[in-house]
Amino acid sequence: MPNIVYVDPSNERHTIDLTNGITIMHGAIAHGIAGIVAECGGNAMCATCHVYVEPSQFSNLTAMSDEEDALLDSVAAERRPNSRLSCQLKVSSELEGLIVYVAPTQ
């Protein structure tokens, strides 16, 4: 089961062992990681599960849909090239050691 590293808005690192198939967003909620709001519960509507992905690992992720791309323009914090909505990122063995930085505001 892959380990995912969450860096929360106060810069604290949390390494969590997650099951394949759940989303990075759900992993954060389930393990009480601060800063993920996920107002729409993972339905790609609210843009409040915003994370910055470690740039060197960005290409390991599945491609972004047009919907996610449009929604990322709605994020409260700065949109950067490594911005993703964590409800659209599914945990898999390819993501072992993935580091995500939770956005400072949602």
Binding site: I29, A38, E39, E67, L71
Partner: protein, 436 residues
Amino acid sequence: MTYAGKVAHEGEDAVMTDSTIDADPFGRASRSDGQLNEKNFRGAPICDGDPFSLETMEDPFPLQREVREAGPVVWMSKYQCWAVAGFQEVKAVLGNWQTYCSSRGIGLTDFAKEKPWRVPSPLLEGDPPDHTQLRAVLNRVLSPSAVKKLRDQFATVAHEMVGDLVARGRIDAVNDLAEAFPLRVLPDVFGIARGGEKHLLPFGSLVFNSFGPDNELRRAAFTGAAEHIAWFSQQSQRENLAPDSFGAEFYASADRGEIPAEHASMLVRAMVAAGLDTTVNAIAAAVECFARFPCEWDKLRADPALARTAFEETVRYASPFQVFFRTTTRPTEIGDVHLAEGEKVMMFLGAANRDPRHWEDPDRFDISRRVSGHVGFGNGIHMCAGQFLSRLEGEVLLTELAKRVERFEICGTPTRKYNNSLRGLESLPVKLLASA
């Protein structure tokens, strides 16, 4: 026409009768007390209860608990359909449009077998691919960033309205606040002319009643509906909508060829029908909750930034939208039970929102709980398109009330509105005690 009755106990003190529910939903035993009978239907427990009776609406919690605790899926004998009431199960059904479709109707009527009461809405009663582009336009027009821009205008109305109500002291929190606020702000958002308020709530209530069985409530809702439907059809036409409104944006989208022109007016009607009664019920429920649980009101007054999550908790706790349906498109399984193609599945959203498997102390109204992921706004591709509008209304109102009101005191007997899929109050006599 509304049915009203006295409000019964909300079930928040009820104790789970089976506290040894194990974590495996497949291991849950059938129970034969209450409205479950000894037999089973294709291996599923049978429930003879009626979610659509006035008695159940008075106090839905016992039936919700029975259906939820009996097993992952239950057969409702009275309506010859399946029912799911557990959080996991309801979420799973809503998340799987391929197996549980909307195009055969989201009420008890199966459109493949019986004529729908109106031409099916390609939005509400559509599946991909027909649904997809329409929904994409809606999501864009009602996006979080678009809705955020409405904050100031909502706040101005809230400030004025709450000021008046606090000055009056004794009010009916339904008529004077919960209905008044959405009726005042929502038509403007969509560009609908003011002055037609008497049509707005009955139209929504009709749509929600139509999801139920052909009972007295449903028939009564249709009586006198013609004038509301006619008014709406007219008001949602391009020439009657204000420019710079969401309604005008739907037409702009049609002009760009993104959606068929006739769908623009349908989207206006759909949003207003779906967005009023539901939010009205949530706002009234919030006042009722804060009146009954003043410690939670004190929490909010001490930290008004909790207003948005407080409204969210209200939606979970009160679940204004209680029950609706999907239809199976193919044989499938829930737990060990086989469902055939073409069978209706009733989803108890309110019950799912109080499932102890998912929520800690589910019957407790707690504005600091982690509430995201509830199914009060649904789930999946049809999840409430207006959720950000609803949240903004709730957040802005609660923020203003938290500044001005020290305490809500229920000062008369609340009465209930009855509807086949909505749950809410008809009247809530309340005294607003002003903050110093």
